[in-house]
């Protein structure tokens, strides 16, 4: 209604009683704001952006909603930005029936509504997986999405039409790991007992300034350490010299994969390993043979740009596939016979009759001659009589093998003893888990450090009394590992009075 600027002298209209509403041309932004507000159900935290082209407010002001011909990124960004300002925060958005053809229109969604839980894109026109990149890759990731609807989009319908429904679901699962419902059907998920919102009453920040324990030595329990060390020594030796014959050591359904962590760790960098005189070949090392080699490449699941195919291809199932992959990796040399402190092993039984073995160490990559660090996790089983493994002298065989290769870090990282949290922390051996009986303390007192700590550790580890622990250590050059191994070898022959 236009306001009469002036009332003429002759015959001015009768003054109306209601207040006159000024009609200034509204800014588009205000219209969008009103529109978004009108579509928001605050109780349900649901923003209904369906059929925007048919909306009265939008048509009246000739606006271009996402999906309308001629609409651009700007409109969708404005809408999502306005949505991000709604209170309480938006949990669910429906963009159904908008004829959206390009995923790019969704590119600002993760920026403005990063915690979005439910999204419907039903009956739009999204054609390819690339359209979904804008909400499921580094371009923009909806990390908390629980429900997604894509029915009625070519990207979904074509897969189903061509019998690839399972592949579609798998690909969606890989792109949206938090999803529990897809196209109104529950996703197969593995659940954990982590509360979504903590029910904890312990709101205090952690205040410890020291570590709970010292760095411990290799921890092998519940199994004969000689079995574990024997397996590892032979495994790495064969890996170095005759990798293909490891086929004997793997179960027919065993799984193998390797992944590469290329980050240069801060401590290693500060210690100058890249330029050290003792390791002159570091700079010549290349990651490419590891990242792309091995018949399927490095399997770092946090970086699966290759999609579901890559995820499946890089996991080698069965002894043959495992060996095919292994022999396509660079040659290596592990110093198995040399310094044992360069390796660290933690192993114990798990499940029914399985053995978990984790090894940390280093190898020289040949022919370049540079050093790499590695971590390897095995699940081993006892080889049944008559099995290929057993017949070839492998008492245990590999069920699962995960290898991680990383930039060289020194084995000093796991040198047994106390550790500092901050520079300048005083180093006292921390109280051991078991309290030391006073009689033992008395016997230990005359022994100086560092021998005293070693003796105590031998007593705790083996049950030997102080005198025998000292003998054992002396006879083994005060090398803890050697002393323990020696003890394991002879313990059957020791009399009762050797023990505490």
């Amino acid at each position: 209604m236009r306001r009469n600027a002036v009332s003429s002298v002759t015959g001015s209209p009768k003054p109306t009683l209601e207040p006159r509403t000024p009609t200034v041309a509204k800014k588009a932004l205000d219209v969008w704001r009103d529109f978004v507000k009108s579509r928001y159900n605050a109780d349900a935290q649901f923003l209904n952006l369906e059929r925007m082209l048919d909306d009265d407010l939008i048509r009246k002001h000739h606006l271009l909603p996402p999906g309308a011909p001629g609409s651009s990124l700007r409109e969708s960004s404005v809408i999502f930005k306005l949505a991000s300002q709604l209170k309480p925060e938006v949990k669910t958005i429906s963009l159904a029936n908008n004829n959206i053809s390009s995923g790019q229109l969704l590119s600002s969604l993760s920026h403005y509504l990063p915690k979005l839980a439910n999204l419907s894109l039903e009956n739009n026109n999204l054609q390819t997986w690339r359209d979904l990149d804008f909400i499921s890759t580094r371009k923009g990731r909806l990390e908390h999405l629980q429900e997604l609807i894509l029915t009625g989009n070519p990207v979904r319908e074509l897969e189903y039409k061509n019998g690839r429904g399972d592949k579609y679901k798998g690909e969606i699962g890989r792109r949206f790991p938090s999803l529990t419902v897809l196209d109104r059907e529950p996703m197969t998920v593995i659940a954990f007992d982590a509360p979504q919102a903590s029910s904890s009453t312990h709101a205090a920040r952690p205040t410890a300034t020291t570590f709970p324990c010292d760095m411990g030595t290799s921890f092998i329990t519940g199994v004969d350490p000689a079995l574990v060390s024997g397996f590892l020594a032979r495994f790495f030796s064969v890996w170095d010299t005759q990798r293909a014959s490891l086929m004997d050591a793997y179960h027919p359904s065993a799984t193998f994969s390797f992944s590469v962590n290329t980050s240069i760790p801060t401590r290693a960098r500060l210690q100058g390993f890249q330029h050290s005189k003792e390791m002159p070949h570091q700079k010549k090392l290349e990651w490419t043979p590891w990242i792309t080699g091995g018949d399927g490449g490095s399997r770092n699941l946090s970086r699966m740009a290759g999609g579901l195919d890559k995820m499946v291809r890089s996991l080698h199932v069965g002894a043959e596939a495992a060996v095919r992959a292994m022999v396509a990796l660079p040659a290596t040399k592990h110093d198995v016979g040399g310094a044992p402190e360069k390796f660290c092993v933690d192993a114990w039984p798990v499940g029914e009759s399985l053995l978990l073995v984790t090894v940390h160490g280093q190898f020289t990559e040949e022919p370049i001659g540079g050093e790499r660090s590695f971590d390897r996790s095995f699940v081993l089983a006892i080889s049944p009589d008559g099995s290929r493994a057993k017949l070839n002298g492998w008492d245990v065989m590999v069920m699962s093998d995960q290898l991680v290769i990383r930039v060289y870090s020194s084995h000093e990282a796991w040198r047994a003893g106390p550790m500092r949290v901050q520079h300048g922390d005083s180093i006292q051996p921390s109280p051991s888990q078991q309290s030391i009986p006073p009689q033992l303390q008395e016997q230990l007192a005359p022994i100086p450090e560092p021998e005293r700590t070693l003796v105590l550790q031998i007593c705790q580890r083996t049950g030997l009394n102080v005198k025998f622990a000292v003998d054992c250590l002396q006879g083994n050059g005060w090398d803890f590992e050697r002393a323990v191994r020696n003890f394991e070898e002879v313990k059957g022959n020791l009399s009762r009075d050797a023990f505490l």
């Binding site: 399972d166 798998g170 699962g173 790991p177 059907e185 529950p186 197969t188 998920v189 593995i190 659940a191 954990f192 982590a194 904890s200 312990h202 205090a204 920040r205 952690p206 410890a208 300034t209 020291t210 709970p212 324990c213 760095m215 411990g216 290799s218 329990t221 359904s253 065993a254 799984t255 994969s257 992944s259 962590n261 401590r267 290693a268 500060l270 770092n300 699941l301 946090s302 970086r303 579901l308 499946v312 933690d346 798990v350 499940g351 978990l356 984790t358 971590d375 996790s377 069920m399 699962s400 995960q402 991680v404 990383r406 870090s409 796991w414 047994a416 500092r420 949290v421 901050q422 520079h423």
Partner: protein, 156 residues
Amino acid sequence: MSTFTSSDIEIAARAADQFTRLYYTTYDSATRVDDLPNFYRATSTLTWNGNPFQGSEGVKSLMERMPSTKHEVQSYDCHPIPGNQPPSLLISVSGTVTHGKGPAGNPASTPRGSIEGQPRVFSQTFMLVPDPTAPPAKPGEVAKYYVGADAMRFVG
């Protein structure tokens, strides 16, 4: 013994993604003393740098004496383990962890180039196993899993 379908592999990978995010977020949170033990059961066996702990109680005790942490996961991998249905999962994680205040918490007299207080590289391996006593709570849930075994070491 049946081998795995790509569906099994995809479900395992998704579980690993969820688990690593949840686990380390919880570890780094102020409420970890109460929340982290929920990933474990009384039978869980774990080691922290070669020191053994047992069960949720062990985890609780470890967390009570641990300085504050900030983990950064740089790579992880996951296998379903042949044997049972639903399968156990082997997950290995590689990354860095900073304790206390990190380098910012070092005294002013700290020589330049000192490694103390700097992030450490860690390697952690988990065996996730299905809980036989917990029936699936929601449609689509394969099983409720918990940490059966856990070996963590500083490696750099």
